[in-house]
C-alpha cells in the first residue's frame, strides 16, 4: 500500500518547551490514523507543522511524494491536504454556502461550479437546511460541520481532523463516527486527533500516541490500548478496552 504521508524526525520548540520532539510516523493511503495523547502532548502542533501553519525546526513531511516543509499553507492545501482547526474558524459574516464556496474556488474559479461543489459538501455534512445562515449564528457543533464541509470543498486527498468530536453528546458522536467512516470509504486518507476513545476505536486502523512531544507508542488499536506506557501516560489504569473496529477501504 502506498504511503500518503511520511513524517520523519519532526521537531519544534517554543522557547524552552519542546512541543514536538523527533516524531516519525507514516500514514498509508486510504487509511485512518489517530493521533492521541494527553493535553499538551504536541498533537495540534504536529498538525500545524504538517499543514505549514508553523515551521518545524527539523525533520521532514512527505505527502504523496512531495516535501511539504517550507511550503505555505495554501500551497499545501492545493497539494491535497485539508485540515480543520481545534476551535472552528468559520468566516463569521459569510453564509454557510459562501464559506464553503470559498473553499471550492481553489479547484474552480467559476461561481456556478463552486456553488455546486459547495452544495455537495454541505449536504454531506448535513447542513443543507442552514445554507443561508451566516456562519457566526451557527452552534459550535454546526460550525465544526461547516469547517469540515469547507475543507472537503477543496477536494483533499488527505484530511486532518483536529478534535472534531469534542463536546458532542453520544448520539452526535455516533453521527460523527459515521461521517468519518463515510469519508474513509470514499478513499480519503484521514489523520484524526481525538480524545473520545470510543470514536477512535471505531474509526482508526492505526494509532500513534504522543506524550510531552514524543512518540511513546504506535500500533493497531488493540495493541496500543494494552500498552502499559500508554495506560500510564494517557488512558489511566481504570480504562476498559472497547472493541477495535477500524478498517481500510482500499
Amino acid at each position: 500500500m502506498a504511503e500518503a504521508l511520511v513524517i520523519r524526525n519532526l521537531s519544534r520548540r517554543f522557547g524552552g518547551l519542546r512541543a514536538v520532539q523527533d516524531v516519525s510516523f507514516a500514514v498509508n493511503e486510504c487509511e485512518t490514523v489517530a493521533l492521541i495523547g494527553p493535553n499538551g502532548a504536541g498533537k495540534t502542533t504536529s498538525f500545524n507543522l504538517i499543514t505549514g501553519h508553523c515551521r518545524p525546526d527539523a525533520g521532514s513531511v512527505l505527502a504523496f511524494g512531495r516535501e511539504l516543509v517550507g511550503l505555505r499553507p495554501h500551497e499545501i492545501c492545493a497539494h491535497g491536504l485539508a485540515r480543520t482547526f481545534q476551535v472552528a474558524r468559520p468566516f463569521g459574516k459569510m453564509t454557510v454556502l459562501a464559506n464553503v464556496m470559498t473553499g471550492a474556488f481553489l479547484r474552480d474559479r467559476r461561481l456556478e461550479i463552486a456553488r455546486q461543489q459547495a452544495r455537495e459538501a454541505i449536504d454531506f455534512v448535513g447542513l443543507a437546511a442552514k445554507e443561508h445562515t451566516p456562519a457566526r449564528e451557527l452552534t459550535t457543533i454546526d460550525q465544526r460541520r461547516l469547517e469540515l464541509a469547507r475543507a472537503l470543498a477543496t477536494q483533499p486527498r488527505l484530511l486532518l481532523l483536529d478534535e472534531v468530536m469534542a463536546g458532542l453528546n453520544p448520539a452526535e458522536i455516533d453521527q460523527a463516527v459515521a461521517l468519518v467512516k463515510k469519508l474513509s470509504q470514499r478513499g480519503l486518507t484521514i489523520v484524526i486527533v481525538e480524545h473520545v476513545m470510543r470514536a477512535i476505536m471505531a474509526v482508526a486502523r492505526h494509532i500513534v500516541v504522543l506524550d510531552h512531544g514524543q512518540k511513546i507508542a504506535e500500533g493497531n488499536p488493540r495493541e496500543v490500548v494494552a500498552n502499559p506506557d500508554v495506560i500510564r501516560a494517557y488512558l489511566g489504569t481504570g480504562y476498559a478496552q472497547p472493541a477495535a473496529a477500524g478498517e481500510s477501504h482500499c
Binding site: F91, M94, T95, A98, L106, L111
Partner: protein, 367 residues
C-alpha cells in the same frame, strides 16, 4: 431574487440619471464644487474600500497613492507637456508599483535624468518593482495595526521626499498648473460642469470594478482574508497574493483621483498631495457608510461632505472650530450607534418600504 435585481437596477439607473442631470439643474458654482468634492471622495472611498473594507486591510496611507498620481501627472505635464489624461494613467501605474511600497522614487529619479517619460516610465517601473519587492513583501506580512502603521509611514516618507525634491518637484512651495484655457485634451475646462462629469465617470468605473469583484471569486477571497487569514490560507487562499493584487487596484484608482484633484484645483504641493486628511477621509467615508459594501463609501461621503459643507456655511467664520466639533460629534454618534455603517439603515428602509420583503443578509455574499 431576480425581481430584486431588476428593481435594484432601476434605482441605480434613476440615480445615474439624476447624477448626470445635476449640473444642468444647478447653476451655483459653489454647489457644483461641493458635488465634485463628494464624487471625488466617494471615488477615493470606493478605492480604499476594496482593500480596507472587503479584505479589512486598514490603510491609513492612501494619500501616498493620491500624491503619487498627482505628482506623476503634474511632472509629466509641466516638464514634458504630456496631457494629464495620459499622466493620469501613468500616475496610476506609478502608484500601483509604489503600492508594493515606495518603489516610485526610482521612477521619479529616472524621469529626473532626462530620459523620455515613456522609456523612463517603463524603466522606472521595472526598477521600482525590483526595489519594492522586498519592502512590499515585508509590508503585506504585517497584520492589523502594524499594517496600518506601515501605510502611514509610507505616505509620510513620500511627503518628506517631495518636500526635499526642489529641482524637479518644486519642493515645499509647490507649483501652479499652466493655464491653457479651455483645453479638454489637457484636462482643463473653463467651467466646472466638465470636471463634474470626469469625476462622475471615475466614480462609475470604481463602482463597476467593485461590483464585478464582489460577485466573483475574488470577493469571496477578500472577505475570507478579512475574516480570518489563517483559516483562509488553510483552504488554499494565497493571502499575500490576493492582498497585493487588491492593493494594486486600490492604489491605481486612488492615483487617478490624485491627478484629477490637482488638475481641478490648478495647484500642487506636498502638503496637498500627501495630505493625511486624504488618507483619513478615504477610510472615514467607507467606515461611516458601511465598509465592505458597494454603496457604503458613496453614502458615507454624501453624509460627511454635505454635513461639513452645511456646517461650514452656517457655523463657519466667527466661531472657529464649532463646525469641526459638531462634525466630530456626528462621527462619534455614527461609530457608536451604527458600527456597521449607515448602509444598514438604508437597506432596511429600502426592504421595508420599497421592496416590501425581507432580504437574505446581503453582506453574506451569497452569490
Amino acid at each position: 431574487m431576480r425581481r430584486f435585481v431588476s428593481q435594484g437596477g432601476f434605482w441605480v439607473g434613476a440615480l445615474a440619471v439624476i447624477a448626470v442631470a445635476l449640473p444642468l439643474l444647478v447653476s451655483s458654482t459653489f454647489a457644483i464644487d461641493i458635488f465634485i468634492r463628494i464624487l471625488l471622495f466617494a471615488f477615493i472611498g470606493v478605492a480604499w474600500n476594496l482593500m480596507g473594507g472587503y479584505a479589512k486591510q486598514l490603510s491609513l496611507g492612501h494619500a501616498a497613492y493620491f500624491g503619487l498620481g498627482a505628482y506623476t501627472s503634474t511632472i509629466l505635464l509641466i516638464r514634458y507637456g504630456v496631457s494629464p489624461w495620459i499622466g493620469m494613467l501613468a500616475g496610476g501605474i506609478v502608484a500601483m508599483l509604489a503600492s508594493l511600497p515606495i518603489g516610485a522614487l526610482s521612477t521619479i529619479l529616472l524621469i529626473r535624468y532626462g530620459v523620455s517619460p515613456w522609456i523612463g516610465m517603463l524603466a522606472g517601473g521595472i526598477v521600482a518593482m525590483l526595489a519594492s519587492l522586498p519592502i512590499g513583501a515585508l509590508c503585506f506580512r504585517l497584520r492589523g495595526p502594524y499594517f496600518a502603521i506601515a501605510t502611514i509611514a509610507t505616505a509620510q516618507v513620500l511627503m518628506l521626499l517631495f518636500l526635499k525634491f526642489r529641482d524637479f518637484a518644486w519642493g515645499a512651495e509647490g507649483t501652479t498648473m499652466p493655464n491653457l484655457g479651455d483645453a479638454p485634451l489637457m484636462m482643463q475646462f473653463d467651467s466646472k460642469a466638465p470636471y463634474y462629469y470626469v469625476v462622475l465617470v471615475l466614480l462609475a468605473v470604481g463602482l463597476a470594478i467593485t461590483y464585478w469583484i464582489e460577485r466573483s471569486w475574488m470577493g469571496y477571497y477578500l472577505v475570507a482574508v478579512g475574516e480570518d487569514e489563517d483559516a483562509a490560507e488553510a483552504i488554499g487562499v494565497d493571502t499575500l497574493r490576493i492582498k497585493r493584487n487588491i492593493y494594486l487596484i486600490s492604489a491605481f484608482l486612488t492615483a487617478l483621483a490624485g491627478t484629477f484633484y490637482v488638475q481641478y484645483i490648478y495647484f500642487i504641493d506636498p502638503n496637498t498631495a500627501f495630505s493625511f486628511n486624504v488618507s483619513v477621509e478615504a477610510a472615514l467615508v467607507s467606515i461611516v457608510g458601511g465598509i465592505g459594501t458597494l454603496w457604503g463609501p458613496v453614502i458615507g461621503t454624501v453624509l460627511l461632505e454635505v454635513t461639513s459643507a452645511l456646517l461650514q456655511s452656517w457655523l463657519g467664520g466667527g466661531h472657529g472650530g464649532v463646525q469641526l466639533t459638531v462634525y466630530s460629534l456626528i462621527l462619534i454618534a455614527v461609530i457608536l450607534y451604527r458600527p456597521a455603517g449607515l448602509i444598514g439603515i438604508l437597506t432596511a428602509a429600502y426592504d421595508r418600504v420599497i421592496a416590501g420583503t425581507k432580504r437574505v443578509n446581503k453582506v453574506s455574499l451569497d452569490g
